[in-house]
């Protein structure tokens, strides 16, 4: 697993300071969406090989949620941005 994360607020930190909170690429379905769509959103997860987007919570640091893009094979970290910034860019 990626062992060093460059937090946009705190700098380079070991992974022990973070908690991984799951897939960040999911899009929340509309409130009126079908039960199947909601079931998939809440429970069904892929176990991807390669690049993934994940929510990382910097529990022992700035306590902010980050969106970390990393590779599950090579352990390379491509980017780590604040969750607010990521959400703002996704809306655009």
């Amino acid at each position: 697993m990626a062992s060093l994360i460059t937090c946009p607020h705190c700098g380079v930190r070991p992974k022990e300071e973070f908690a991984i909170r799951g897939d960040a690429s999911l899009i929340r379905p509309a409130p009126t969406a079908s039960d199947e769509a909601w079931h998939d959103y809440v429970y069904v997860r892929a176990n991807p090989r390669g690049r993934t987007l994940e929510h990382w919570h910097h529990v022992a640091g700035c306590r902010r949620f980050l969106v970390v893009e990393r590779d599950t094979v090579t352990h390379e970290v491509y980017s780590a941005v604040d969750g607010v910034v990521a959400a703002r860019e996704a809306q655009r």
Partner: protein, 184 residues
């Protein structure tokens, strides 16, 4: 029956008794240090930071975006709260942490080597500049670490973790003959 719960410091049992001689590397524990957390309203982070840093008596410790621990050397806890209320008004949420946090001051030529045993940040003077501060994990305990002098570091820890952190620090500093005492 009336009990006075205020009178017991978190490290009272560890540091009670006659003070031992102070060695070159020393851990000093603040007695009733005035500490408060300040969380700025969204969008007002810069204004709050300006207001706080305009007062030389207050020492700002960075926690996260728009969030600081404010330490005062001169104020009482109540005085600090009054001062922060005047400075921030409705721009920030201020909570008194004087009883909730314990401040420890690690000083001496080997302070950096003591800390390096438990802290995951680069403590080199070029990377962790004078006046710098950050939240960090020391062993498994979340602390706020600040560099207040050339070889002086201040650690702020939650009260309930203070004893555990104190034991860890004394173990980390045993090779350097680390001594410990209350500051007054």
């Amino acid at each position: 029956m009336v009990r006075d719960y205020n009178n017991r410091h978190a490290l009272d049992q560890k540091l009670r008794g006659t003070p031992k001689p102070v060695n070159a590397d020393h851990l000093e524990v603040g007695h009733w240090q005035a500490i408060a957390t300040v969380l700025a309203q969204v969008g007002l982070e810069a204004a709050v930071q300006r207001a706080l840093s305009s007062t030389p008596e207050l020492s700002l410790r960075y926690c996260g975006p728009g969030e600081w621990l404010v330490v005062s050397e001169v104020d009482t806890p109540i005085g600090l709260m009054r001062r922060l209320d005047m400075l921030c008004g409705t721009q920030a949420h201020v909570v008194d942490q004087s009883d909730g946090r314990v401040l420890m001051r690690l000083s001496g030529p080997c302070a950096r080597r003591v800390l390096a045993k438990g802290v995951g940040v680069d403590l080199h003077p070029g990377a962790f500049a004078l006046g710098g501060s950050t939240n960090v994990l020391c062993g498994h305990i979340a602390i706020n670490l600040a560099r207040t002098g050339e070889d002086i570091f201040e650690l702020i820890v939650s009260r309930s973790f203070a004893e555990s952190l104190f034991d860890d620090l004394m173990t980390m500093g045993r090779a350097f003959d680390l001594s410990a005492a209350f500051s007054d």
